[in-house]
């Protein structure tokens, strides 16, 4: 049986304390930044703890108008053997190719896909839809109403999340990565409603992210939200928790998930 997936999120940013170093950070509402570690070191730790996949996001890339920094991904890829999704600043099919040949198995695209709908189609035709992850950041407006935000959560597109997800699928995305800006780093739980809406509308896998603070939240994301995967950044960084402990707790709730290695 296909298992649900636990995906740690590794967000990279230039350090404010350690000059010239790209560090891992957690964020709160896409805003407040806390430096928590070294990207390669954390990737190796997650490999040892048998995370199902990793997502690397370069938070500065879009803002600085450049492509994701691949140095750390390449180094990490030497010692980690699980799927890696990479994103941040991806704008063209060439960007896809570059990342895929530098350690990425999947590439996530966000703002650029909103601006250029051909990107999803072209990338998916060239590399296969399974390499193309459409990343959607959103905020809740009111019950049942969710809007897509772009440019690292700074521009409101006023588009409906489910509608964009559906179109993304139609255009060629192989997977959706949904991130709640409101709940990012809040530890208050996943937005089940939005997750459920998207999951029941599209027929491609959905990864939900934003808000995990307890093991229970993962369970809710899978059970009530119906997500295929839950992605967490803050959760593993500030508690005596790790993917191995977490998946045991998820399994105990009756959800099919990998155990041990």
């Amino acid at each position: 049986m296909l298992k649900r997936r636990l995906i740690p999120k590794l967000q990279m940013k230039s350090s404010s304390h350690v000059a010239g170093q790209l560090v891992l950070v957690t964020t709160v509402n896409f805003d407040r930044v806390i430096e928590i570690g070294d990207p390669v070191s954390q990737a190796k730790i997650y490999e040892a703890q048998a995370a199902d996949e990793l997502i690397f996001v370069d938070l500065d890339a879009t803002r600085e108008g450049r492509l994701t920094d691949v140095k750390n991904v390449r180094r990490a890829a030497e010692e980690i053997f699980m799927p890696i999704t990479v994103g941040g600043g991806v704008r063209t099919v060439e960007d896809f190719r570059y990342l895929l040949s530098n350690g990425a198995d999947k590439v996530t695209v966000n703002t650029a896909a909103l601006k250029n709908t051909k990107l999803l189609t072209d990338a998916s035709r060239m590399f296969g839809s399974q390499c193309v992850v459409l990343s959607i950041d959103y905020k809740k407006v009111s019950n049942g109403v969710y809007e897509v935000w772009s440019n690292g959560g700074t521009v409101n597109t006023h588009r409906d999340v489910t509608e964009w997800a559906l179109e993304g699928e139609r255009l060629g995305a192989g997977e959706i990565l949904l991130t709640s800006i409101d709940r990012d780093g809040s530890r208050s739980g996943i937005d089940i409603e939005c997750t459920k809406n998207v999951v029941s509308s599209v027929s491609i896998p959905v990864i939900t992210s934003g808000g995990c603070g307890l093991a229970r939240h993962f369970v809710e994301g899978f059970k009530e939200g119906g997500a295929n995967a839950v992605c967490a950044g803050t959760y593993f960084s500030f508690k005596d928790e790790n993917p191995m402990q977490c998946r045991a707790q998820i399994k105990n709730a009756g959800i099919p998930i990998r155990l041990h290695k």
């Binding site: 010692e79 296969g128 839809s129």
Partner: protein, 209 residues
């Protein structure tokens, strides 16, 4: 020296890193001539069937591979699309001929349950034939990472040596003589994946299965 075939498609770096992690000497080869002194071969692949066979043909790999694999019986391992292209025919974006090393067809995954989405992306448990030494050291129900929309259906059921369950049995690995191939990605399947690669670098198709 293990040679990985670079025909412009596939996550070659991961395969190389994984093989090196288990102690192999590995080289990535983008020219068919460079394959001639290979002790073992690896055919990876990510993308579409048509592009894959097209690239292999354009770059002159097909006759060299046929000679090395079918003629000289060099052990070869195919991964994902690399496995699919070993079939006779593929049906992705229309009908297309493959390498024909297996009497098999590559067809789109059929799922009934709406929760079983296509592509299959994620970790799934395999059932495997445990008389195949390539599966040595694995527990009874290991999980591997799959990411695919098509599967290989062999006419000879015996050639299917592992399956996974995804709304019905889905081919996970095939094997014949000196040719072994997995639908899942061993280089992405952590310790069990590395175990299979370790077994591959020690595999002697003529002494053991």
């Amino acid at each position: 020296m293990i040679k990985i075939i670079d025909y412009g498609m596939g996550n070659l770096l991961s395969v190389k890193n994984a093989l090196e992690m288990v102690g192999a000497d590995v080289e990535i080869c983008s020219r068919p001539d460079d394959l001639n002194d290979a002790v073992r071969l690896v055919l990876p692949g990510v993308g579409a069937f048509r592009d894959c066979i097209g690239n292999l043909q354009q770059r002159g790999f097909v006759p060299v591979l046929n000679d090395l694999v079918l003629g000289k019986k060099i052990p070869i391992m195919g991964i994902c699309l690399g496995m699919q292209v070993m079939a006779k025919k593929g049906f992705e974006q229309g009908e297309c001929d493959g390498l024909g090393w297996f009497d098999a067809e590559v067809r789109r995954l059929q799922t009934i349950n709406p929760s079983h989405r296509v592509p299959q992306i994620g970790w799934n448990t395999i059932e495997y034939k445990n008389n195949i030494t390539l599966f040595n050291g694995l527990p009874e129900h290991p999980d591997f990472y799959f990411v695919h929309s098509y599967q290989v259906i062999c006419k000879e059921a015996d050639e299917i040596v592992a399956i996974c369950e995804y709304d019905g049995p889905v081919t996970a690995a095939i094997y014949r003589d000196n040719i072994f191939a997995t639908q899942f990605h061993p280089e992405k399947s952590q310790d069990y994946g590395l175990q299979i690669l370790k077994n591959f670098i020690r595999w002697d198709p003529y002494r053991n299965a």
